[in-house]
Amino acid sequence: MKLKVAVVGISLILLFLAAGLALQEETIKIGFFAPLTGFAAADGMSALRGAQIAVDFINEAGGINGKKIELIYYDDACKADEAAAIARKLIERDKVVIGISGSYSTPTRAAAAIFQEAGVPMISAYAIHPSIILTGELIFRVGLGAPVEGIAGAVLAVEKLGAQRIAILTMDNDFGVALSEWFKRKIEEINSKRVEAGMAAKQVEIVYEKRYPLGETEFRELLTAIKAKEPELIWATAYFHEAANIVSQARELGIEVPIIGQEGYDSPKFIELGGPATEGTIIVTDLNRDSDREIVRRFLEEYEKRTGIPADMVGASAFDAVQVAAYAIKVGGTEAEAIAEAINGIKDFEEAVTGPFYYFKDREAVRPVEIQIVKGGEFHYFMTFTDPEVITPPAL
């Protein structure tokens, strides 16, 4: 009698456990990593929040084919070795269907190699380095890549703003160097065209160029040397902390020419740390805060509601990465090849905040490049590039 009770009892417990496990497996696991501590923490937290908003929006609308998404995330402190370890954890232990990098280029490169080798797709939300998507057929990027960003910057500086004497300050890491390299390449191309058209006198001159290390906070002697060269425009690649110092110190020195930044500046922290000196800074990015597209307004409102601060490109890109991942899983299922095919087949994807994504070329999203300007202590619309010559990623 006691034995029968025990057998029935244990069977019931096992049944409940099995049911519980079965119910648990009803979620689709998406892996995510971002710098939640360290110098990049502001961006990492923003990316995480953007991703979480997308997950919540999707789950509220019923999930993917009835199943909820579960975002499994870790902090990589913006270090390559951490990101690599996290990639292994997500793949082997958490068994994610797809990974999303909410981190910078250096950690993302490291993780991409691991994901590709393990046969799990990965989307880079905003890390720009070209070599990331060259890692393999399963690695994608929804954010701007360095080539397009640099090219758009050059077209902006030379053709829209009409500068002929340009000073370049390059942050000495994957991000900063890649951006400046493509900026300069486009300038060379523009110069060649001008010479061919008989306008050799209109060539653009790089009057100053110097690299500085990531984390530098003192730019005054560099800027004084730049001021002496009398440029018409400064192209400075930086993350928000360096950018805040570059811009505020430049203005303090009496440099009044336009300073062109890139997505690294795209953070409320840039404006907070740089203060009133940030007025008029123009950046190449992909988030248009003044857009009247519905998905943008929904995202911006929800982000500010949750955090109390305005959203930035990083948060928007992470949001879009989740959107694309969810779409691909909905259309293709959970097999890696099918997901990759689904992403490659995307056409006119409207549900992206930094979109619409017209299509994917060589696993990179092609869409408008937004130029924003700081006005009244906030980023606002300046212009948009939709010209295919500017926004199409060049062959690498």
Partner: protein, 286 residues
């Protein structure tokens, strides 16, 4: 005019190094301890200053003295709570403890205040120069003038007061000084207080100058201050101040050259290596 402008930057930077090095070299002079956690006090000064600005008064002249006071007290706490028990142990024990404390302090700041860089919203007005050839902003003027005031006050204390006399005695021979009736404990505690208060001041001034406070802001200062101590000569305050200005000058001048792409922070390391190789006593060392 480029030279003069760069000289201004070098003076500002050198002032920070000087303020940091004073505490370090005095503590080494008396206790023969390498007080790495000193840079943690630098960061503490900045955070306390920020806290005061955000919650008490946005007047810089309120934040600065209070931050200095807090830093001074923290320094005494470190001495009385940690180094005091290690004075007779091998030198490596206080060294490792100091490193551990510094790391712990950085993590503490991160846990309490968050990992983000925060702006430093201080209100103040000060003299400034703005001519076609030279610009000295009020912040730069403030740092230079304040540091000069502190250094003068320190000179006065070291050379004209009983406390200063006790200091000099202790740094020459601490046992003899004690035997001669100098209250060694008090001298050392005051030593820590003043040195740490100056480090806290440096933190506040740099937070103002760069408009940012963040947990790891002391990391670079930590090792640079040591380079300055070595260059100036262990235990020599004059040497430290001169070395600080010299290092700042070299960094600024090399940084202003377009072709010089060596990271500025690495220059300090080079200086350290050369000093240890060719003149390990430092410029003014004994």
């Amino acid at each position: 005019m480029l030279i003069w402008q760069n000289l201004v930057y070098a003076l500002v930077l050198g002032s920070t190094y000087a303020l940091m090095v004073i505490g370090l070299t005095m503590i080494y002079g008396i206790l023969k301890i390498l007080h790495i956690a000193h840079a943690g006090i630098y960061t503490l000064g900045a955070y306390v200053g920020l806290f005061i600005l955000l919650h008490l008064s946005d007047n810089f002249w309120v934040a600065l003295p209070l931050a200095m006071l807090a830093s001074g007290l923290a320094g005494v706490l470190i001495y009385r709570g940690m180094y005091y028990y290690m004075l007779t142990k091998p030198r490596i024990i206080p060294l490792i403890s100091s490193i551990g404390l510094f790391i712990a302090l950085q993590e503490l700041y991160r846990l309490v205040a968050g990992p983000y860089q925060k702006a430093f919203p201080a209100k103040f007005s000060f003299l400034s120069i703005k001519t076609e050839y030279l610009i000295v902003t009020s912040k730069q003027m403030l740092i230079i003038v304040l540091t000069a005031v502190f250094l003068l006050a320190l000179y006065f204390i070291i050379n004209r007061t009983k406390l200063g006399l006790g200091w000099q005695a202790c740094s020459q021979d601490i046992e003899m000084a004690g035997a001669m009736g100098v209250n060694v404990n008090r001298v050392v505690a005051l030593n820590f207080f003043i040195g740490s208060a100056l480090a806290g001041a440096a933190g506040v001034l740099m937070a103002l100058y760069r408009n940012s406070v963040y947990p790891t802001m002391g990391a670079v200062v930590a090792y640079k201050a040591f380079v300055v101590v070595v260059l100036g000569g262990f235990g020599s305050v004059t040497g430290g101040v001169v070395a600080g200005l010299l290092l700042a000058l070299v960094e600024t001048m090399l940084g202003s050259l377009e072709w010089f792409e060596f990271p500025r922070d690495a220059i300090a390391f080079l200086v350290l290596i050369f000093t240890l190789m060719f003149r390990p006593k430092g410029l003014f060392g004994r």
